[in-house]
Each structure stands twice: as C-alpha cells, then as structure tokens.
Symmetry: C2
Subunit: 559 residues, 2 copies
C-alpha cells in the first residue's frame, strides 16, 4: 500500500473561511478549521474611516481572504498531524459573484493608499445590491439593442448581483478606480492567483455570473458598447477570454504562499470554483438525473443535463459550469430557512414559547413536533412561498407571500407546515419545469443546514416531489468539494485523480438513511400542488398583478 | 310639567338577560341589572340528566328567561327608586331564531316530565346548528319543487339557524314531541306571552327567520308539503298568520307577571323584537340612508329602504321588519372581533406579550397603538376577511381567510391592521351592493362592543367606506330599544309615544365625537378596495374554488 495522500479544500463563505484536510483515498475529513473575517461584511462604514455606506452596499476586505490561508491551513495541518509533503493539492470555492478591481500584479486597489477611502475600490460581495440602477440599464439597453436573446439564457434578466452591473457601478461612480483597475476579477480567481502567482479564470463564475458560454464566449464587444461606450473593451482590457475548466490545475503554490500555509512550494492548486457548485460532486453527483439541493436560508438547486437546452426561468445553464463535459443547470428559491425563521420570530404565540421552554426544545422543534402530527391536506391551508420574491421559475423579486384557507380554528403549527409545504411546491415547480424542458430529475440529494435539523421538511419534500431524497454525508460539503478538486488538480500520478468523476466515486458519500415518498401522502400532495400551480400562475404570470401593485403602493407610502 | 314616566326594556342575550329602566322623556337609563341564565347555553348535557348532546347542539331552559323577569326587573325598580305606577310600558328583545315547542297554554314541552329528557323538547338557541341536514334538504327540495324564488329573497339559501329547519329537526328526530307541540314559537314571542297571557307573533322574527313577508305571508302550504308531507300544515296548526307590527301593544301584564316583576297588572307590553333590530331606533335611525352596524364578534348591518327591492346576497328584506312602514334590510359579516381575538391568541409573538405586560396594556391595545402608526398601503398587505366564511354578499360558509403581500419584513401589527382593513372592505362591499340595488347608505351609526374599544378600527372603516361614522350613545342599546318600544306600546296618552319615530327623537342619541373619512387615506383605500373586490370575486364567485376544494379535502383527511 502506498502512503496516504491528502488534499486541502478552502471554502470562502460570507462571514468566514473554512479549511478542511481530507484523505484523498476516501474523503475522510481529518481536520477542519474556521477563520472569521476580521472585517466581516462591510455594510456600515469603510474600515478605519468614517465613510458611511449606502443601505444596499456590502463590501469585503481581500486581506481577510489571505488571512484564511495563513490561519486555517496551518491549523488543519497541526490538528491532523499530516506531513505537508503528503498534501498533494488545494482547491478553493467562493461566494459569487464577489469581485474586485486590482492592478496588473493582482494588488487590490483598496490596498493602495490613494484608493483606500473609495468604497468602489473594495471587494463587492455577492449580496451587494447597490448596482441595481446599472442592472436595470443593462437589461433595458441590451434588449433595446437587439441582445435580448443573450438575456434570455439567464431567465430574461441580469441580476444586480452579477459581474457586469457591479463592474459598471465602479465605472459610473468611480471612473478613476475603473481606469486604475488593470483587472476586474472574481474573488475566487483572485485567491487562486495569490496562491499560485498565476491569473486564471474559472468556467463556473464566468458562466453563471459573467454571461460567458463555452460556445460563444463572453457577449460581443458591441453588446458592452450598447450599454455604455466606455465598457466596449472591458473583457479584453480588464478580464480574460482564457477560461479554464473546473478541476484543471491553475498552478503550484508560490514560495510566499507556501510560507503562509506551511505547505510545500509547487503544491498543485485547482482552478477556483463556486461554493454551491462545488457541492455537487461532493454530494456524489457527476451525472444527469440527480438534483443536488443546498437547503438553508434559501434553496439552491443544481442538476446536470445531457445537452444544453433552454429552461425557462432558471438562473442559468453553463457548459462545464459544474462538471467538465456536461451542462450545469442552476435554479433557486429565495426564502426557505428564512421563511421559518420569520414565522418563529413574528407569528408564534407566547404559549408556544413557554411550552418549548418547559420541554427544553427550541420553538422550531416544538412546531415541527406538532406539525408532524398533521396529515397532508388536514389544515386546509395553502401558501405561496414568495416572502422574499420568486427566484425560479418566475424570476420576480416583486412577488410576495400568500396564505389561504385560514379559519378561526387555524393553529400556528398548521401555518408552519403550510409554509414548509409551500417551499416544497416551489421545488417541485422547478423540477417539473426542468423535466418539461428535457432535463430529467429522478432523485434529490440534499445538503446544507436544513437536512440535518428538520426531518419533517425532508419527508414533505419527498412526498410533494414524489421522488426519493438522499442526504450527502459530508457536513462541510464545500470544503470537501474543493479538496476533491485539489486532488484532481494534482492528478493521478501524484496520488490524486485524473477527473472529478473518479474523485467523486472515492471521496463522496451519501448517508444510509433517506426519505422515500409516502404514496398516500403524494396522492394528496398532487392535488394540493395543482392548486398551488394554479395560484402560482394566477399571481405570478400576469393574470392578476396585485402583488406588484401593492408593492409599488407600499414604496410610495413609505416615501 | 307632568310627572316623569318610565319604561323598562329587557334584552335577552345568549348568556344572560338584562333589564334597564329608562326615562321616557329623554332615554336616560336610571338603572340596569343583569341576570345570568342558570343553565346558560346547554351544549354538553341536558340539565339534571346524563344525556349528552351532539357537538352542534345549543339549547336553553325557558325557565331561565322567566327568572330574568323575576330578578332583573325588581332589581332596577329597587335601584332607581321609581314608583311602579310610573312605569308605563315594557318591551323585550331576544336572540333569534331561538324557538321552542309548547302546549296550547304556552307551557314549554320541556317543563313536562314526559319530555324533560328529550333534547328536542327544549329551546333551540340561535346558534344551534344541528338542523343542518334539514336546512340542506329544505334548500334542495324547495328549489327542486319550483320554490327557488322564495329562497332567493334570503340570499338563495335558508340557514340551519332559521325557524323551519329547527322545527323540521323536531319532527325528524322526535315525532312525539312534534305531535305534542300545539305551538312552535320564537322565545321572543313566548316571553311576551308569559307576561301578558296573550300569544302574539312579531313581524321581525317572522320576516327575518321564518320566511314571512307582509305581502305574501308565509310560504304556501304546498311549499311545506314539498319539503315533507307531514309539514304541510305547520303554519296553521302550530304557528299563527296574525303577525303584529313592532311597537304594537301585545297586551297588559297579567297579575302573575305583575307579581314576578313588582310592576302593576295591566302595564303595557310591546310585541317582541330581535336584539339586533331593536338597536336601530335606539341608534337614532328611523329613516332610510343611515346604516346601523352592531360591531362585535361579528358585524350586523341594518338599513331601512324607501321601497322593498331585492339586494343580492343579503340576509333578508322584511317590510316592517325593523321600523313599521319601511322595509328593513339586514346583512352580516361572520368574523370581526373574533378575527382579532384569533390573531391575538394564535399569531402574536412572546416579545409583544412581554412589551404589553411591561406597559400595562392588553395585547389588543399594543397592536392598535403600533398599527395606528402605519399609513394605508404601507404594509403592502391585503386580506380577505373570510376566517369564518362570508355571510354577505356571497352567503358562503365554505370560503376561508386569505392574506397576501407578506415579506420577510412583515410585522405582526401590519397583519393586525390588514385584518381590520379586510373587515372594513367587507363592510364596504355590503354598502356598495346595497347602493347598486337602490338602497342608499350615506352614513354609518356604530354600536356594540368594538366602537368603544378600538378607535383605529372606527377610523379605518370611515376611511375605507368614505362616509362618516357616528356612535350611538347608549351602552345598553338593546335594552334601550326595547324600552322605547315599551313606551310606544303604552301610547302617547299614557305618557309614552304614538310611534317609534317620536320615541326615537326623544329617547335616542349619538355621541358628539364621530369619525370623518380622511380624504388622503380614502384615496389609497379606494385602490386597495378595488384589489379586494377583484380577489373577492375571483375566490368567491367561482373563478377559482380552491377554498372550497381545500375545505372538502380537509374534511376528508380529518375523517
């Protein structure tokens, strides 16, 4: 037997970064360590200044990312006792689109004294929403200039969270920063650059966040010119057309990065990835048919297809976007765990809080226990899960939540269950839309926070969708997925793998327990789902735009 | 100046009876006294037996009504110090339809040992719902036999709460009781019979609860035969076709009743009335155009018309039903105060309960305070007020509540305000339906429990309906209205009045403070009301019967 080999995955989240040291042979996590970002999410004022940010801003400090390498990687080496010579590769995954302007050598503009006080020089985090005016203009001008078809690949609209609205905001508000930026780059690619000294761009963020496609590349320069003449050459001047597939090796660790981490110079570093997408192989999926859902505050649905097709209302389809060689499809629901948290905070009576306290449960557990005693259809309630708009398949942030069927005997646990069911109907709507467009889905693999906490929710999803749900074994799914990509970047000769499919077979696993649909429940849920679908279309597809009119009125009245 | 004269009103409610002694000159209440019914609402088992009642039953003991005369009238005489010779008349009002079977001399069958253990021999209270099978059959067979037009006068359907379904239930379940019943009579008329020794029937209960109309009388015998051949002669055999107008004198106090009450034999007793309807003149209304709304757990809307017209979806129109000489229209909303009570019990978080406690408010007051700070439209919420079905104008108990427009920032006080607004839209829908049918409404007079407790609600109703709302001065509005009818029964010569209009001018008053619509708010509410109306029709008039389908499914799943 050869000596065990290890890979390190680094998962950059919203508030912190996590490193995991993983056995390449079986995916076993020997050690993991979290390093919270010193400056966290910067949404009030710029660190070290009195410069206040507008409400929709959300920035980060790129130095915090480097600190993760300097703290968390040494920590897992120390905890595991693994010899750095046995670490064959590193992979990273990141939130996206999280982007920053840098000099040609990779120095972030916000590190330079002349730009330190300019908010547009800092990292724009994925949930920075202040580029909405640019997103609106982009959608308007692109369609007016005959580029509507490009938008249609992304559900008809580009979000303010994506790359080009954020880049355009820099140009609009801080043309000096834009002019000084030799590069505009995803945080994911920037951290890989810092490790390797080599600037690379990955197909996942390029495809899902920057409108790149394997066939057509980025939109043509004429597209950008139509938005703003100053943007015409943005790709050639500040980005790269050389997009690398996932699992490719970006380079080897520089001596400097080796010093930060305690690893050997030259250790293979994989091209960067996105946190959600790297979870797919870590959840055992490298082929079409099995959908991975990351269930947390929101739901992110990913599935591989056999060929690239247009699926109405999805977040995007990217060839090689999740697994090299296959189109990756992504969809989402904006409000899942957040929904239940809202309910517990705003709608649960004191008597329930007291009961939970007396029985040493949290309120969610108490509600789950009570709701689990109900049969499908027994409450008479039906909800539309749009408390935070609808991401897929309607792609409409102006839709709002609805609850129907209440009587004077309606109890809190009935509403709680109706909200869970509503999110399950939303997932089924996504699955049915995929299937109708020729993307099969016959099984769900769940990961994220909810599958570990809420068995009732898992069973309801299985019953509503009528297909089995498995749960990924790994708790640090992002870090595991990144480590798997690190092992692929190292290659088989170094003790890793030649492709992600091989790595997945060895390193990713499901739990034994899973959720089979209960046939009797599914029959009832088929009825309820068809009611949901009717209301979904009535309120969501223009028959009655009351939700949007109320939202306009609400905004006017709050002025 | 002549010596002051007094009248006594006795208001028979669901749990107790109240007497008020009133100055005939100005309506001033000198004394009032409540006597709770010993047997209250009988809905578990028959008093003094182990005989259990089915869930939908609600009975009363007629002896409890007599006890009110024996206790409450002496109490007000004593408290006021008024000489019985100065009491010129008595009036009563009652819940309806509250009916019982008696012998020809008025003895309730439940007083007889042979029927004491038979639930069908007791008083069926207005909220006794166990005659639903008979109500269903009545509606079905009446329409099938060509009597649909008669039903249409009552919104198309006769309720299980009304007289004939209750009478038919006695026949169905206890044919011996039915056979032994020489009379089937409203509790209202029965208590007047006990005071005077004279059996009378009043136009209000006959019209609103027993399908009588001044023009056509009761439905023809063929109608009853079509329901059940045994019912063919029910009116001739067990009721009376001699229906007296409100304010008429039924008779004078018998010596026995004089002994119970401490009043003089021969004191004028008015024909009976219904609690809601007697409130109309007590709220100063004796002419068309001003709608009286009793606002409490539910809303009851009454308005007088210039002529008898058919108004779709109303509870009924009865010539002389409220004020002699005019058609009285009635409508209702099933869920108003109950709605807010449900919300407070089921949907208000512990933090609010703690805040209310700390500030020595009740939760309603806290919610009202917070909700009052919101502007119309500011919450983005809209509700349909059907938590207990819809009484008017859809007449459909199978409709259910809906809330729309919720987001993750929605707060409890916003929902609370949306529920208040929904009941206001429901009232406006009733008013607009009246107006569209030629029954003008240009002002609201509110009475009942809510106007005293919830100023925000009153202002919202004024803003939503766009007309001023006044509040009746009297707190014991039923007892005052009954006393006014007592004064009319006594007549002008005895120191009373010749008609209810004169009595109203002298004895009924409004408070000085009232609620004018805020024009800016009304403009916003006009928009919101039109959204409400669209959803009202979509869910309530057959475009999408999802509420009914969910209710059917709910019933199946609970089996």
């Amino acid at each position: 037997m050869s000596k065990p080999k290890y890979a390190i995955g680094v998962d950059f989240g919203t508030e912190s970064g996590r490193a995991a040291l993983v056995d390449v042979a079986d995916g076993w996590v020997l050690a993991s360590a979290v390093h919270p970002y010193t400056n966290g999410v910067i949404d009030e004022k710029l660190p070290g200044t009195d410069i206040r940010l507008e409400p929709d801003w959300a920035l980060q400090d790129p130095n915090d990312y480097l600190e993760v390498f300097k703290r968390a990687i040494p920590a897992v080496l120390k905890e595991s006792g693994v010899d750095p010579t046995d670490v064959i590769g590193i992979g990273v995954d990141f939130t996206a689109c999280t982007m920053l302007p840098t000099k040609a050598d990779g120095t972030p503009l916000c590190f330079l004294p002349e730009f330190r006080q300019n908010p547009n020089a800092w990292v724009k985090l994925w949930k920075h929403h202040a580029a909405q005016p640019e997103a609106n203009l982009l959608n308007e001008r692109a369609r007016a200039s005959g580029f509507g078809e490009i938008l249609d690949r992304y559900g008809g609209k580009i979000s303010s969270e994506w790359f080009f609205p954020k880049a355009w905001q820099i140009l609009d508000e801080a043309p000096d920063v834009y002019a000084a930026a030799d590069r505009l780059i995803e945080g994911a690619d920037w951290v890989v650059w810092q490790l390797t000294g080599v600037e690379t761009r990955n197909s996942c963020t390029a495809g899902y966040k920057a409108m790149w496609s394997k066939t057509d590349g980025f939109p043509p320069n004429a597209f950008f010119k139509a938005l703003d003449p100053r943007l015409e050459h943005i790709v050639d001047e500040k980005m790269s057309r050389n997009i690398l597939p996932l699992g490719a090796k970006a380079g080897g660790l520089t001596a400097e990065a080796a010093g930060w981490t305690g690893l050997l110079p030259g250790t293979a570093v994989a091209v960067a990835n996105v946190d959600a997408h790297v979870a797919v192989p870590a959840a055992t999926v490298t082929e079409p048919g099995r959908m991975v859902i990351i269930m947390g505050t929101s739901n992110c649905h990913m599935v591989l297809g056999a060929q690239e097709v247009t699926v109405p209302g999805m977040c995007g389809v990217v060839q090689d976007g999740i697994i090299a060689g296959l189109p990756g499809f992504e969809a989402g629901q904006s409000c899942v765990g957040d929904h239940f948290a809202w309910f517990v905070e705003n709608c649960v009576p004191a008597a329930y809080e007291r009961e939970a306290e007396g029985r040493k449960l949290n309120v969610h557990e108490l509600l789950e226990e009570k709701a689990a005693k109900l049969k499908p259809g027994e409450s008479g309630l039906l909800a539309l899960d749009w408390w935070n708009g609808n991401r897929s398949v309607l792609v409409d942030v102006d839709l709002t939540g609805m609850l129907l069927g209440a009587t004077l005997l309606t109890r809190p646990e009935e509403i709680y269950r109706a909200l869970i069911e509503a999110t399950a109907y939303g997932t089924r709507m996504i699955i049915e839309t995929f299937k109708a467009s020729g993307v099969p889905v016959h099984e769900i693999i769940a990961t994220g926070g909810l599958p570990n906490r809420n068995r009732l929710l898992m069973q309801i999803y299985a019953d509503v969708c009528g297909i089995p749900i498995y749960v990924a074994e790994a708790e640090q799914i992002g870090a595991l997925g990144s480590a798997m990509h690190g092992a692929v970047a190292a290659g088989e000769e170094a003790g890793g793998y030649d492709d992600i499919t091989q790595a997945t077979k060895k390193m990713a696993r499901l739990r034994k327990e899973h959720y089979e649909p209960n046939t009797a429940h599914s029959t009832v849920y088929n009825l309820l789902y068809s009611e949901y679908a009717t209301l979904h279309d009535y309120f969501g597809r223009g028959a009655n735009d009351v939700m949007k009119r109320l939202k306009v009125l609400k905004a006017e009245m709050r002025k």
